[in-house]
Structure formats: structure tokens, C-alpha cells
Subunit: 104 residues, 3 copies
């Protein structure tokens, strides 16, 4: 009744959003969700040079749901390789189930 | 020590929020969380007729945590049936664990 | 290729954010993500005495990703013990996978 899917989560600096959306589109994912976020990472490499204060929402959380786990891994790899030397960010995967009747 | 639970996630257009909250309440779920969201879906059926730009937060992400998976599926089915012909949206389920000592 | 991790999710009143961040830091977690949220809980114990309306974002959703599940449980226990008698809130755990090449 349900279809296994993979949810890729990317939390990173807001100024990278357009570039990451391009990577998501080119990888063949059919959609994504974006939310404003704040927080603190494990490294002090924020491009702005400022400490990240939790109540300034200068990050974004991007979620990509895909039936094909390889697509999620590919996006994750490309985002990490291109940006995470110079910008703060993290990506991880979660399992999800989509009801078969619903398109995504 | 922990109790299995199901998290239902609904991402859809903001103008549906009140109607969806009513469905959640009537299904017997005890609570929900709402966040503003933007993004792009797989179909171009946004009721506004505008393309959804990722930095306009005209969507909402609604999360419902329930100990009873059937409640999550029921809400998901009803939301999809009533709205996803005419509005953009997606629903999916994730596994979660609630520490037994904590009520939800 | 991937490393199992635990995502702790805390949804509670915004005014608790600083205190909870302190608990997260002291537990040894390396980072967290914060988002504004609204919603309704199972109990009517909001400290403000007001009903929580879903379109006023007076809550926060805090996510902590950790390789060590015990750290997540410890934070969850401490947050629930210290605050959830007097404030509305919920915590739960989800499984996540971090690509090994990515630090978190």
C-alpha cells in the first residue's frame, strides 16, 4: 500500500539556495521543500565569518523526497563536495513512505 | 524504553491549513506542528497559477505524530483525496520513537 | 558508505530556546537546527495561558543530529524533566544516515 522513499535533508547557508536547487533539478528529483532555519554547526566555517546565533534565521533546510535513493545520494555528494569546504552545512538521509496513490 | 510512533508529514499550500487542521482533529490526533515552507512540486497545479518560487513561503509543512499508524494513513488519504487534484501537495510517513515517559 | 545517526526533534515554546541550547551543548552534541513553528499539543499547559493558534509561530522546532543515540536520549530526558510540566512540548527520535564523508 505504501512505497518506500528516501528523504534527503540539507541544512546550509541561505545564500547557497539557488545553486543547490539547480543541483536538485539536474539530478532528476521532482520537487523539494525549503524552510528557513537557524542553528549551530560543528565547525566554525560560516562564510560570513560571524558566529551563527540561533535566533537569526540565516540558514535554510531543504528536503528532497525521492523514490530513488541514488538520486538522493548523488545530490548529497555534489552539495557536500562543492560547498562544505567553504560553507557550513550538513546533509543526511531518512526513510519515508509515500502512499502509493499519491504522486510525488 | 521508547514507544514506536508514526510521523505524518503534509506539505501543501498555506490556504488549506485550516481545513487540514480540521481533518487532523477529527481523525483523533492529539496535536500537530506547522512550519512555513516554500518549494517546488512535481506538478504544475498550484491553485494560484503562479510558479512557486522557493523564497516565497506560500506553503506549509504540517507534522502529526501519532501512536496509531492508521490515524496517520487516514489523515493522509483524506487530505490527498480532497485537495491534491486541485492544489499542489504531498504527504508521507516516517517512523519515530517517543520516549515512553513523555506524553504525546 | 553511510553512518547511522539519530535525529532528536524537540518542539516546544520559543522562550525555552536558550535554555535548551545550553542543554544540547552540555550534552556534547556538535550542532543543532532551529525553525519557527506553530501548532497544537495534546495538553493545554501553554505557559502563556493562550490557546496556540496555528498561524502564530510561537513555538520552535529544534533538531539535533548525533552519532551517539545516548546523547539524544539524554537531551530528550533532561528537556522533558525540566520543562514539560510547565510548558507545552514534545520530543521524539528518528533514524538518519549521514554519508561517511560528511562531518557532523
Amino acid at each position: 500500500m505504501t512505497q518506500q522513499a528516501t528523504k534527503l535533508v540539507i541544512v546550509t547557508e541561505k545564500l547557497l539556495l539557488k545553486k543547490i536547487v539547480k543541483i536538485i533539478d539536474e539530478a532528476g528529483a521532482t520537487g523539494y521543500t525549503v524552510m528557513e532555519a537557524g542553528g549551530k554547526g560543528s565547525r566554525n566555517v560560516r562564510s560570513s565569518g560571524q558566529p551563527s546565533v540561533s535566533d537569526t534565521y540565516s540558514n535554510v533546510k531543504i528536503e528532497v523526497l525521492t523514490a530513488n535513493r541514488d538520486v538522493a545520494v548523488k545530490i548529497s555528494d555534489e552539495v557536500a563536495e562543492r560547498f562544505f569546504e567553504d560553507y557550513s552545512g550538513i546533509t543526511y538521509l531518512c526513510d519515508a513512505e509515500v502512499l502509493r496513490a499519491h504522486k510525488f
